[in-house]
Point group: C2
Chain length 283, copies 2
């Protein structure tokens, strides 16, 4: 049996699929759809020697789910374009599927279609179909907004430096396993308080430049010279909100046990922070 | 400027995008959505020395559009996950985008999102969002159905053999440019006459085996021993319909100038035709 078929069989046995078997899939109707696609590719987003296959499967979905959470959307379905290395064994496929399964079960996502090919290296292209009554976009940042991020930053950078030095990183590090469980309901509940936001995937400074470019305003940080602000793949949220909502945000963050750091304010001008290109780092 | 940004700039200038700039996209509402994802990858689906970049861009979308047409769906939006080789020049990117642009304009598709990375080889993962009031699926084949295919088969195989021998193939060959323009409205008009169908991407015999497996019935061909029946990437349609609709189908095919070949019938049993694995051929 060929690898594509072995993969499909293992995937179907995992219980996370719906409606496979045709070139296209018709889904049960859901309101306010929003669509996103992310690649997770060997040599760019990960090295095989740094990750178990389970970790790769989990993280490939998690980086997409993080996008959905940042948009205040609930992910529902995924399409998976998979390039499998030709020397993969059924056991390796099982490990990869286990990672996909864990992420799908945690976030109640079903894999509803896609394409599988045998290629030279491992790559996952995941399209996520999510639902959001009022998506939180990047382009609604306003003059005077407060800038705040969730969680602690810097862990992914530390993990990456350790790996680059040949060291080992614990499996529970968020470099392997973004911690998104609490963020999802938190983002839903704070949506009315916010103007704009996005997840920190290329480092906080890079995201500030991005918001600045899109909104033609400057994200003025109180203390921009922090190494943690260069750390990508943090999967924490960078949020913009009017100052009058600060108190309400803090209250809800307490309730959801989310750490907040108020780091600056939106003023006139343009941000030109020196950020590093995060994904070149893993090459 | 980095390659990802150059690509995005050229893509936006091409006029075929909508709603880029965020992690996710909210689209204007459309009825009866249907979703599909296809990969088009160097070393698997194409060799760079056989294709111009314009041909690659065009065909990457065309193979997806062919799926949509086979489902009697109208493609509307695409998400593009692009792996760009690191040595690509802006001119090469322009050529690739030109191919995408031609396909998008021909079929009125907008590129609404995606992800771009710089990698070792060229690969396109395309998710197509289409609309179909009554999708034509693979699983509704019935006992006694007639089997018919559109067009002439074998051209892609001939082109491939020529290329493998070091010969040259004309740019208008359907190996480069699937001819889908007339098929799209034809499929819409004949939908009520059909039980099941799919596009011939892995060769007619392979598709018969697939239908047989899914429907637990045998696609009994009158003359299965034809080299053209092994030819993949034909992007013609294999259709199943009750005999009473044969006349109506022929009438509509004439009107749309579509050639039909009635090749067999659905009987009890199982198809085990010896098909070749098409995409191994281009490796």
């Amino acid at each position: 049996m060929d690898l594509e078929r072995i993969f499909l069989q293992i995937l179907e046995q995992s219980g996370i699929t719906f409606g496979l078997g045709d070139d296209g899939v018709v889904l049960p109707c859901f309101k306010n759809p929003i669509y996103m696609l992310d690649l997770f590719t060997e040599g760019v987003h990960f090295k095989r020697e740094w990750f178990t296959l389970e970790q790769i499967g989990y993280k490939a979905l998690a980086v997409n789910i993080s996008d959905a959470i940042a948009l205040c959307a609930v992910p529902k379905y995924a399409l998976l374009g998979l390039q499998l290395p030709e020397n993969f064994s059924p056991l390796e496929i099982k490990e990869l599927v286990l990672g996909l399964q864990k992420a799908c079960q945690e976030f109640k996502i079903q894999i509803v279609g896609g394409d599988t090919i045998v290629s030279k290296s491992l790559s996952l292209a995941i399209t996520l179909l999510a639902s959001s009554a009022k998506p939180l976009l990047r382009q609604k940042m306003r003059l005077g907004d407060l800038l705040v991020h969730t969680g602690r930053l810097g862990e992914s950078d530390k993990a990456l430096q350790t790996l680059l030095r040949g060291g080992r990183v614990a499996g529970h590090s968020k470099f392997y396993k973004p911690v998104l469980k609490n963020l999802a309901p938190f983002m839903q509940t704070i949506r009315p308080l916010l103007h704009a936001g996005l997840d920190i995937s290329d480092g906080l400074l890079a995201e500030c430049n991005r918001l600045s470019q899109l909104n033609q305003l400057h994200c003025k940080l109180i203390n921009p010279h922090q190494r943690a602000f260069l750390s990508g793949e943090e999967y924490e949220m960078l949020l913009c909100l009017p100052a009058r909502n600060k108190h309400a945000l803090i209250q809800r963050a307490k309730k959801h046990r989310i750490k907040l750091s108020f780091i600056g304010r939106v003023i006139r001008g343009k941000s030109h922070y020196k950020a590093k290109i995060w994904h070149k780092a893993t090459k």
